[in-house]
């Protein structure tokens, strides 16, 4: 395999050809923040938080979509880079509720982590903030678009599921937001509650309704479990607080057509001693159903009787 050698922050680094500057830098032990970069779904380059300085380049390119090249001289922490990152964080915070005190994601939120790292307390632009109603129409997924940084990871992961692509960007400019078709609620959309979008959201925009108000992130322990309902083998976290299982959340999709509601509900029933009642959409409305119906076991149960 051919390799390229570049210099990152003065250190010579050799990586396989085709490696991104981001991966080359991370591999060499340097830190670069990312919001929109999804290793399973690369090539987007939208959030710009991962910009670096490359000698000779006209602008600061996003390291997640820039291929490392021979002789490239990269700076990941130069004053210009830091200024750009700080400004981008300021811009994000200026259009964000900054309600970390009550946010479910507090403790595992990239925006919070990077704001801490780059010492961005708040933004002094003092302008308009987006003000969308919360979408709680889906019983499993809470959507708060006021916290969304428009990284588009949810859009891209949803697109990976054939026949889905439920959400996409809507509107333009400052009014841009992620929405189902016709800006409908999630419940009205073709969403099948697989939670792929929740599993990739770097901030508090997409969270599990089942987790709401139950625990701070640092109070929980997580045990990774592989779902065995089908051969895809998706990963779930069994989330506990004080020794009690409180929820099961999706960790990452497996191969094939990964992550599904049935799998997550099955894991919930298996591991959670007090699982919330399952809900399925019937005639356009979510209604409470039995566990056997939720898991598609009615006919099997009939035969077992």
């Amino acid at each position: 395999m051919s390799t390229v050698t570049l210099t990152i922050n003065g250190k010579e680094v050799t990586v396989p050809a085709g490696t991104t500057v981001l991966d080359a830098a991370l591999g060499a032990g340097f830190f670069i923040p990312t919001f929109c970069h999804d290793p399973a779904n690369p090539g987007y380059g939208g959030c710009r938080i991962c910009v670096v300085e490359i000698k000779g380049a006209r602008n600061m390119p996003a390291s997640c979509v820039t291929a490392a090249a021979n002789g490239m001289v990269v700076e990941t922490d130069s004053p210009a880079v830091i200024e750009a990152r700080r400004t981008i964080l300021e811009l994000m915070l200026a259009n964000h509720p900054v309600d970390c005190m009550t946010c479910e994601k507090s403790g595992e939120c990239k925006l919070q982590d990077y704001a801490f790292r780059y010492d961005v307390k708040s933004a002094d632009f003092g302008g308009e903030k987006k003000d969308y109603p919360q979408d709680q129409s889906n019983p499993y997924i809470s959507r708060d678009m006021n916290k969304c940084v428009l990284c588009g990871k949810c859009v891209r992961t949803c697109e990976q599921v054939e026949d889905r692509a439920v959400i996409n960007f809507a509107y333009r400019g400052f009014k841009t937001k992620v929405a189902p078709a016709l800006d409908a609620s999630l419940a009205e959309s073709a969403c099948v509650s697989c939670s792929r979008c929740v599993s990739v959201c770097p901030v508090g925009a997409l969270t599990y309704t089942s987790m709401a108000g139950k625990a701070r992130v640092w109070e929980t322990t997580r045990e990774e479990k592989t779902c065995s309902w089908c051969e895809a083998g998706c990963l779930f976290d069994v989330v506990s607080k004080g020794g009690e299982v409180i929820s099961v959340t999706a960790k990452a999709p497996g191969d094939g057509r990964p992550l599904c509601l049935k799998g997550r509900l099955g894991m919930e029933l298996r591991h959670n001693s007090q699982p919330p009642a399952p809900m399925l959409k019937k005639d356009g409305e979510f209604v409470e159903v039995s566990w056997t119906e939720a898991l598609g076991l009615d006919d099997i149960m009939d035969k077992l009787k």
């Binding site: 987007y44 959030c47 938080i49 750009a84 400004t87 981008i88 002094d124 333009r172 841009t176």
Partner: protein
């Protein structure tokens, strides 16, 4: 191939015969139609029919003098033809009486004359020497206002499709070399050398390649591409076909904004006619080369003029830019190698192939060859379309072609390159225009829209206008552009409303710098240019707004106050009646006063006062 050669001589003869007939030609570009051209056309047809005159009535596109629309040209055999300006239906009778029946030009209505080798009429400027055209070259615009854009015969008779005829007999690389030799750079604004781009697409490996024409012209004040599409659609098609042959593509797409219905109509007609004559489709000119073109109407997003967003839009996706590389030359439409050029670039190609690259490179400056079409708008006497050699100065365009600033006011700035460009002040009027000089001045060539502003324009307000535009048109993909332009705009609004603070200027500069260096696409990277150039050249205006709470140009309503001069007011009461909010009071023959609490600063009173007693400050 012989087919076209055979029919060409017949077509040329017919065209010559047409020129030797008495004829009235109406300008029916969008500008002519907007000015009432269709009504003029109806009035002329009516007049000709009712008088039983032996005269042909035809139409053409915009000759460039949009300020003179509706324009009508009258030509008699063996004589110079005369282009008349401002011909509304009520003047049609006079024109026909004088020039068609009386056989003498109506000098007082004439704008220019086109001699065509005949003796010029006295008292009418000859086109090439007239104020508007003397400094122009007419190359890519040579058919505009001269031929019927809906007639393929007119196109062929004026050298049309001779470029593709010549090209298909050439080696592909020779065609590309000819384009390289011409030195032509992308006319859409980026200025990338066209020949190099063609080479990349030629060299790219792919089982299928595409030609895409960017006709998504969207800068405020820009209508070059529309004019070319409406006036010479076949030239664009021919340019695309030559490119297709050179790089090995058999399919082309024209992405044209839906707001250009006439351009789309004429393009469709041109495609149909070209197909009928075997100039497009399968086995063109018997050479085995096949090429077809379709039109994709864009829904009107400015960002879709960015090449990768445009490709997404053709594919049915949201118009959001892709990251580059990969460039469209390697992974373009449907991930296939794609040659993407702008309308004006493609329209230049047939001329370059026919006349040779050296002919083209003889015009222009060292690094910017050829001619460029500009649209002249704003506070000038002659608004319209012009084609000039690269290297001409902005001052020549302003004073010689555009006829200077209207109403004897003073020039203040010119915005070049639309929302991505910048405002250049008087000091830059002697700047020779080319791609690089404009960039070093903080502006850019852009597609070629020039908006001239006079002394009554507030430069902070101008920056606000453009930022409002880019903010609304930002696709929302990258943070610096989506969020950053909003904050720039909000700051500018604050300043124009008198709420600016000392930190605003450094904050604008800091934010603008980050947006420029970190945004994803050219729209975002250039969005701060209007702010940066107005700060660079008109900083004092920002400071006046912020420190003195004054708008020097008297534009920003929040910073204006209206008052009545005691020694000039005679108490006539006219202003009092003109005020829509009853803010003015005063007895008859006594000095009037304006109540600032009620005044909405509409300025309606100012022009009403015959004694210049009302002042705006």
């Amino acid at each position: 191939m012989t087919n076209l050669q055979k029919s060409r001589s017949t077509i040329e003869e017919q065209y010559k015969a047409k020129q030797n007939r008495p004829r009235i030609v109406v300008g029916l570009g969008t500008c002519g139609i907007a000015a009432g051209g269709n009504k003029v056309m109806a009035a002329i047809k009516n007049e000709v029919a009712s008088r039983g005159l032996d005269v042909d009535v035809d139409f053409t596109s915009c000759i460039g003098m949009c300020f003179a629309e509706p324009a009508v040209e009258i030509g008699l055999p063996g004589q110079a033809s005369v282009v008349y300006g401002g011909i509304y239906p009520d003047k049609v009778g006079q024109l026909i009486d004088g020039h068609v029946v009386g056989k003498k030009p109506v000098t007082e209505l004439a704008a220019i004359q086109i001699t065509g080798g005949a003796e010029p009429f006295e008292g009418i400027p000859v086109m090439e020497q007239s104020g508007y055209y003397a400094k122009q070259v007419r190359s890519v615009t040579s058919r505009l206002g001269r031929t019927n854009p809906e007639s393929i015969e007119d196109y062929i008779a004026t050298g049309g499709y001779a470029g593709i005829e010549k090209a298909v007999a050439m080696e592909r690389l020779d065609i590309i070399n000819e384009v390289k030799k011409s030195g032509i750079r992308g006319r859409g604004g980026g200025g990338f050398p066209t020949g190099n781009k063609w080479q990349f697409v030629h060299d790219a490996v792919g089982d299928k390649k595409y030609i895409v024409c960017n006709a998504d012209e969207g800068d405020p004040g820009a209508f070059m591409d529309r004019s070319v599409l409406e006036g010479d659609p076949h030239a664009v098609l021919e340019g695309m076909m030559i490119a297709g042959f050179a790089i090995g593509a058999d399919e082309g797409v024209i992405y044209c904004r839906a707001e250009y219905p006439l351009a789309i109509k004429r393009l469709n007609l041109a495609i149909e006619e070209a197909e009928k004559m075997g100039l497009m489709g399968e086995n063109i000119l018997g050479t085995g080369f096949s090429f077809k073109i379709r039109i994709k109407a864009g829904a009107g997003a400015f960002v879709c003029g960015e090449e990768t967003a445009l490709l997404n839009s053709i594919e049915g996706q949201r118009g959001m830019p892709r990251v580059r590389p990969p460039f469209p030359a390697h992974k373009g439409l449907w991930q296939k190698p794609t040659c993407l050029n702008n309308v004006e670039t493609f329209a230049n190609i047939p001329f370059i192939i026919r006349n040779g690259g050296e002919w083209y490179a003889a015009m222009g400056t060292e690094k910017s060859k050829g001619s460029k079409v500009f649209c002249l708008t704003g506070k000038i006497n002659n608004t319209g379309l012009c084609e000039v050699p690269m290297g001409i100065t902005m001052g020549e365009i302003l004073n010689d072609i555009a006829g200077g600033i209207k109403e004897g006011k003073k020039f203040k700035a010119v915005q070049s390159g639309g929302p991505s460009g910048g405002c250049l002040p008087t000091e830059k009027l002697d700047l020779p225009i080319d791609y690089d000089s404009l960039i070093s001045a903080g502006a850019m060539m852009g597609s070629g829209g020039l908006v001239f502003m006079d002394e009554t324009t507030c430069m902070v307000d101008v920056a606000k206008f453009f930022l409002n535009f880019t903010q609304l048109e930002s696709c929302g993909k990258c943070t610096p552009c989506r969020e950053g332009t909003k904050r720039l705009l909000e700051t500018l609004i604050r300043i124009t409303e008198g709420a600016g603070t000392a930190e605003d200027i450094p904050n604008l500069e800091r934010l603008a710098k980050v947006i420029k260096s970190s945004a994803l696409c050219a729209l975002g990277q250039t969005a701060p240019n209007p702010v940066l150039t107005t700060l660079r050249y008109f900083r004092n205006e920002y400071e006046a707004h912020i420190n003195d709470k004054k708008c020097p140009a008297g534009v920003c309503a929040a910073l204006l106050s209206f008052s009545i001069l005691k020694d000039k007011c005679i108490g006539c009461g006219v202003c009092l009646k003109a005020c829509p909010v009853d803010a003015i009071s005063g007895e008859k023959k006594a000095v009037h006063v304006i109540d600032p609490a009620k005044c909405v600063k509409c300025g309606a009173c100012v022009p009403k006062c015959k004694f210049e007693a009302i002042v705006k400050a």
